[in-house]
């Protein structure tokens, strides 16, 4: 019976580490800061802007170099969700992993803002990239402000001031959209995925790529050869002013469209599905509008922000 002893020693170290981690996880200002989670980093960013110093925010989908549609959550994510008192998630099947993690650690006091329900969208809404629509984030910010005000009533005025500042900071973006749309309504666009479709529509774009093709690429299944030919002809025949693609998901098909566009002299714009680093939500969206405008007006390609 010599074996239990080394085994015990083997167990001591990890156990000690667990205890240390458990102690370390207790924040000193736990009463003051609300723990919050944004399922996507653009929502996390808006929570941080409204909550300021009274909120500690974590984003779950934060890496703009991967495909969010194939994301798998980690145990660390589950722990964040478990301890969060405010959660903002997209809905429309985009972040079902959030629902699973919330069910795994039930907490009746936790507030969950599902953007889909907030906007009153039905489950069969085809395009889940809600944050690209100019009407989404003002509503989300308002909901965050009202939840934070009821979680920390003594700081309600602070949150309200942050909301006002956030709404004001969206103005350059919305002004750019209105100005471009007024001057160029009906400009023709080819896309690979529906990521930026809501923004393109707000800009007055006429999206020539069939939606089923966009959905196929988004869902990782092969588009029909008929639709591939249609897209190739759109680019080769100069049927569009710009090709907008999801620069987070570049497969061989996207690459072939990019080279078709280059050969035909059609400018390309790589849009982001997840907020790239070095940006906040409003400056990111403004940068996307400028990239699209630069392509349509100045024939300039923008592959990376």
């Amino acid at each position: 019976m010599a074996t239990p002893r080394p085994l015990l020693r083997l167990l001591v170290v990890p156990l000690a580490m667990l205890v240390a981690v458990g102690l370390g996880a207790q924040p000193s200002s736990a009463a003051q800061r609300v723990r919050a989670v944004g399922a996507e980093n653009e929502y996390a960013n808006v929570i941080a802007q409204i909550g300021g110093r009274y909120v500690g925010v974590t984003g779950i989908l934060t890496n703009p170099n991967t495909d969010p549609h194939t994301f798998e959550s980690s145990p660390a994510d589950a722990q964040e969700v478990g301890s969060a008192r405010l959660i903002v998630q997209n809905g429309l099947g985009y972040d079902t992993f959030m629902n699973n993690m919330e069910r795994a650690s039930p907490n009746p006091a936790r507030r969950v803002i599902t953007v889909q329900s907030l906007l009153g969208l039905p489950d069969d809404t085809p395009n889940p990239h809600l944050w690209y629509s100019p009407r989404t984030m003002p509503a989300v910010a308002r909901a965050i402000e009202s939840d934070l005000a009821s979680l920390l009533p003594s700081h309600a005025a602070y949150f309200e001031a942050n909301l006002t500042r956030f709404d004001r900071s969206l103005a350059p973006w919305t002004r750019a959209i209105t100005a471009f749309g007024a001057a160029h309504r009906g400009f023709k666009v080819a896309v690979t995925e529906p990521v930026a479709d809501d923004l393109l529509k707000a800009l007055g774009a006429d999206i020539k790529t069939p939606f089923r093709f966009q959905a196929d690429v988004m869902n990782g299944v092969d588009p029909a050869p008929q639709d591939i030919s249609l897209q190739t002809n759109l680019l080769a025949g100069h049927g569009v002013a710009v090709l907008v693609y999801n620069q987070q998901i570049v497969d061989s098909l996207t690459r072939s469209f990019l080279s078709d566009a280059r050969a035909a002299g059609v400018p390309v714009v790589g849009v982001y599905e997840t907020m790239p680093s070095g940006y906040d939500y409003q400056r990111w969206m403004l940068a996307e509008v400028r990239a699209i405008a630069g392509a349509v007006l100045g024939h300039r390609s923008t592959q990376k922000l």
Partner: protein, 291 residues
């Protein structure tokens, strides 16, 4: 002709590429597969496709074309099975199973990494079930060269291969290096699996390798005729599969094309059943004559 060929079939770029790759891999798989069936190596052939899955998904991770990985994986897997395997039937079976399991585990890791760390999507679909309509035409020269190499290898091996397939003992007595022939044949098998993986994916490529030869061998027992019939069935099923997938775009109002690999495998299965029926009928007639 509209009821058979939906509009744009003959002018579609993706269809041209699919017909070339499908036709070439249909022929090559059939020729190699006849020996696979006769030698009783269907399981080994299937295991190679699993190693090809690891190769293809690993190649995508490195930014290479899947075809490179399919072939490299197949060659490595074939070598591993030959190295681990013994002369005994049972040893070969176990070696095949070990390699298959290890390779599939690697494939699980690579496919996960493809999806999570790379900016690609649809990798699993492409590797496992094939994406022949989205294959770039730049790969065609490599496909043709690989096919020519495989056919040349099988042709060069033909006599000793037939002999060592029918009776390894007699072959050895006549000075045929049975083991070497087996290794070279495994190389041909790996290359043909690479081609069929590009067409209908690694998981289903066994269907093209085994199906048309098995159907052909039900119709005829002559080696030459079986090779010819298998090649014809191989081309017919892949081309018809491409056509049906293209046409299926217009079958429903949602305008989605069903996968080529489904149609090819369904047609291969149908061909096998049909060959079985056509073989049985003369037998029954003979019974009737006797009575």
């Amino acid at each position: 002709m509209h009821w058979l060929f939906e509009p744009g079939f003959f002018s579609s770029g993706p269809v041209h590429v699919a017909l070339v790759i499908g036709g070439v891999s249909g022929v090559v798989s059939a020729l190699v597969g006849v020996f696979t069936v006769v030698r009783g190596q269907a399981f080994g052939g299937h295991a190679l496709t699993d190693v090809s899955t690891a190769g293809g998904s690993g190649a995508l991770l490195l930014g290479l074309t899947p075809l490179t990985g399919f072939v490299a994986g197949g060659l490595l897997g074939g070598a591993a099975m030959e190295a681990l395997g013994t002369e005994h039937e049972r040893g070969r079976d176990v070696a095949t199973g070990i390699v298959l399991g290890a390779a599939t585990g690697l494939a699980a890791l690579f496919l996960y990494l493809d999806a999570t760390s790379g900016a690609t999507s649809g990798t699993a679909q492409q590797v496992l079930f094939g994406s022949i309509f989205v294959v770039q035409s730049s790969i065609l020269p490599a496909v043709v060269v690989l096919a020519a190499l495989t056919v040349a290898l099988v042709a060069a091996l033909y006599r000793p291969l037939v002999l060592s397939t029918v009776s390894p003992e007699i072959a050895a007595a006549r000075g045929v290096r049975v083991r070497l022939i087996g290794v070279l044949y495994m190389a041909a098998l790996a290359m043909s699996v690479g081609l069929s993986s590009l067409t209908i994916g690694t998981v289903l490529s066994t269907a093209l390798l085994i199906g048309p030869p098995a159907a052909a061998l039900q119709i005829t027992r002559s080696m030459g005729r079986a090779l010819l019939a298998a090649a014809l069935i191989g081309v017919a099923t892949t081309w018809l599969g491409v056509l049906l997938s293209y046409d299926s775009f217009d079958w429903g109002s949602s305008h989605e094309a069903m996968p080529v690999s489904f149609f090819v495998v369904a047609l291969v299965f149908a061909a096998y059943l049909a060959a079985g029926v056509s073989r049985r009928r003369p037998a029954r007639l003979r019974d009737a004559e006797v009575r």
